[in-house]
């Protein structure tokens, strides 16, 4: 054990003096987690997971604009109202420039036309068929660069709002008409018909309701999905697996100089050297997670991002860090033994880590990938680590949920060490 600690101290000392290595191991993942999280926060807005800004130009003098405004704000749309001083062309120009993702124009006279269209029992003397048939032409504009999914989502929301307003007006008219007609029939006055306001309200009441899953975030101490809860563990894992490159570099430096032959001549096994390296880089991985976690918790709120919150099950989180670190170290030792030059190891290592991160769900969540990539993601060690982190940090699960992923990470470590050991023997 003393020999392992000796190797560990030596490794940490060498790492401390390797400024470029420290930059790769700590600054790179810290920068990535901030940049990617900020970018994804914006993507969530675009995909409708956050409020989208819509411009509303009300050229009418009636209350249709305010009714539509209220209805749309019930959904996830933030309305910016332009008064009638502006023109339709101003709105169109703002949308085309990409200042806003969508814009609505309520033409002049819309409310009057809307009121006429809502009449259910027209008086032949006052309302002609032409007016009755005409619909109110609310105009909707989109930024050409907007994603199709968001475009159809916004269109649907505006249509539902317009239908709700239209239906409300028709129901109100129907209530008025029915109350008037019932009052004229003496027989029916025997029945107690509800007052007009009550009848209208009851007609507007929905018959079906939608219940969404209750948010247990307060109870479990976890946050629901956010780019922060996704990205902090994801990019911490990415940084951890990047330790494979300095580990491989260190081994290659030893192999290519006389150090390896001297180490072989010492009364200490290669397993001791590998163990010392693994122990050193496990410490590094814990420091990486701590650094990125602290950035998520304390710096993100200053960047208008939600703060990262750790699971109440700290022990389980530490286990995931430990097993992920082991897998990363295993990969590094394998690269160090399998490659012949540092250039080979760094190129192959970074390609492997980036590819494993991409298919593992670090950059894009696995569920958003094509089916074939989703199937491929199960072979990525970063996916195993990330799934375990998400089980703990997002879904609020505990130990039983992560055993399988920890087992896969441990197997990966053992396999890489076994292969490295075979290569060590083969190279002697």
């Amino acid at each position: 054990m003393l020999n392992i600690l000796t190797v560990t101290v030596k490794e940490l000392l060498l790492l401390k003096r390797d400024k470029a290595g420290l930059l790769v191991l700590f600054i790179m993942p810290a920068l990535l987690v901030m940049v990617i999280t900020l970018v994804q926060e914006n993507v969530m807005e675009l995909t409708g997971q956050k409020k989208t800004k819509m411009l509303l130009l009300d050229l009418d003098t009636g209350s249709l604009g305010s009714l539509l405004h209220k209805q749309l704000e019930l959904g996830h749309i933030e309305i910016i109202v332009w008064d009638g001083q502006r023109k339709s062309s101003d709105l169109q120009a703002a949308i085309t420039r990409g200042d806003y993702q969508a814009g609505l124009i309520i033409p002049a006279g819309s409310y009057e036309q809307f009121q006429r269209a809502a009449v259910l029992f027209p008086n032949q003397q006052t309302v002609d068929d032409e007016i009755l048939a005409a619909q109110v032409p609310v105009q909707l504009y989109f930024d050409p660069g907007i994603m199709p999914g968001l475009r159809s989502g916004l269109t649907a929301q505006v249509q539902v709002s317009l239908q709700t307003i239209g239906m409300g007006a028709k129901i109100e008219n129907l209530g008025k008409e029915l109350s008037g007609r019932f009052a004229a029939l003496e027989v029916l006055t025997q029945f107690s018909t509800p007052p007009l306001t009550e009848l209208t309200a009851r007609l507007k009441e929905p018959l079906l309701s939608l219940e969404s899953q209750p948010d247990d975030s307060g109870k479990t101490g976890n946050r629901s999905y956010s780019p922060v809860q996704q990205n902090v563990p994801a990019w911490a894992l990415f940084g951890m697996f990047f330790t494979a490159i300095p580990i491989a570099g260190g081994i290659l430096q030893e192999r290519k100089s006389g150090i390896w032959i001297r180490l072989t001549s010492l009364p200490v096994s290669h397993l001791t050297f590998f163990s010392g390296k693994v122990l050193a880089y496990i410490c590094v991985c814990f420091c990486q997670f701590l650094l990125i976690g602290l950035i998520g918790s304390y710096m993100f709120p200053y960047l208008a991002l939600p703060a990262f919150t750790l699971s109440q099950n700290i022990g389980a989180v530490l286990l995931v860090i430990l097993f992920s670190s082991l897998a990363a170290c295993g990969l590094g030792i394998f690269l160090g033994m399998a490659c012949n030059t540092y250039e080979q190891a760094s190129t192959l290592g970074s390609t492997l880590v980036v590819a494993a991160a991409a298919i593992g769900g670090v950059m894009v969540p696995v569920y958003a990938m094509p089916h074939i990539m989703q199937r491929l993601s199960v072979v990525s060690p970063l996916n195993w680590g990330l799934t375990a982190f998400q089980d703990l940090l997002v879904r609020g699960l505990s130990f039983p949920a992560i055993w399988a992923d920890l087992g896969k990470l441990a197997l990966f470590f053992l396999l890489t060490i076994l292969l490295s050991w075979k290569l060590t023997r083969a190279r002697l």
């Binding site: 003393l2 020999n3 000796t6 190797v7 030596k10 000392l13 060498l14 003096r17 390797d18 100089s257 006389g258 150090i259 032959i261 001297r262 180490l263 072989t264 001549s265 010492l266 009364p267 200490v268 002697l428």
Partner: protein, 266 residues
């Protein structure tokens, strides 16, 4: 004949030189993958305790392969090795405690200081506490690097690195020392210092097996030499005796006579 010498220095010593075999290699065969001919072919060598044995050969003759096998870097395809009477395969860990190795390539961490390097290797030799500190200080003094012990090795000159490389192999006071071209690529002053150090070690009773290209150096230092060519010892004996028998004026002339002038690594 190995003379008995009483140690006169304060460097930790093995005491009076002993009679007996320090290294015995019998019929070693070593074949590298994809190599046309074996690196060692029926290679046999006996080095007596307290002897300063020089293994001389051209590039690719098999010197480094022999040293690598003796120090356990890789096993031979066939043949046996015993050091201080112990079979290498069976007593590897015990044997590794009693020999020291100075590889041809520098075996030092460039981003550690001289002291940190020595402390690291010393600890792995099982030294600790005052014994380790004492060994490190002695090795620093031995390599004339005490004043610069805190500086990173990367800032050292080639000669300083070579001296430190030698000192790192002496930390555990080995009975047998394998030196693979310890003076290659350094200036005359550093080479002279290393010579003095090696003579001192030999005087103290350390058995030394040393490889070199430099014939004059071997003639000056070695009590016995072996000439290796094609992975086999083709001649061995005391330098003076070999020259007398062959009629050559110096070892280089004898070496070229025995091995020919054709390049070996072409």
């Amino acid at each position: 004949m190995v003379e008995k010498v009483v140690v006169k220095t304060d460097y930790p010593s093995t005491g009076v030189k002993e009679q007996g075999t320090a290294l015995l290699a019998t019929s070693l065969l070593m074949q590298y993958r994809n190599a046309e001919s074996p690196a060692l072919n029926d290679f046999s060598l006996q080095v007596q305790k307290g002897e300063f044995f020089g293994l001389l050969g051209a590039n690719g003759a098999g010197k480094t392969t022999a040293i690598s096998i003796f120090s356990g870097f890789f096993p031979p395809v066939s043949g046996t090795i015993s050091i201080m009477g112990m079979d290498f395969q069976r007593h590897q860990n015990k044997i590794k405690q009693i020999f020291g190795l100075v590889p041809q390539d520098l075996a030092l961490y460039e981003n550690l200081s001289a002291r940190e390097n020595l402390l690291f290797f010393g600890k792995l030799y099982g030294l600790g506490g005052h014994k380790l500190e004492g060994a490190v200080e002695k090795c620093l003094a031995f390599s004339r690097l005490t004043d610069l012990a805190g500086r990173l090795v990367s800032t050292y000159s080639g000669g300083m690195k070579r001296r430190l490389n030698l000192a790192a192999g002496l930390l555990h006071n080995p009975q047998v020392l394998f030196l693979d071209e310890p003076t290659v690529g350094i200036d005359a002053q550093s080479r002279n210092l290393i010579h003095e150090q090696l003579i001192e070690l030999h005087r103290m009773g350390t058995t030394i097996l040393y490889t070199s290209h430099y014939m004059e150096e071997a003639q000056e230092l070695c009590s016995r030499i072996g000439i290796i060519d094609g992975g086999k010892i083709i001649e061995q004996g005391e330098p003076a005796e070999l020259l007398r028998k062959s009629g050559h004026k110096n070892l280089e002339s004898l070496f070229l006579h025995l091995t020919g002038k054709q390049l070996r690594d072409a």
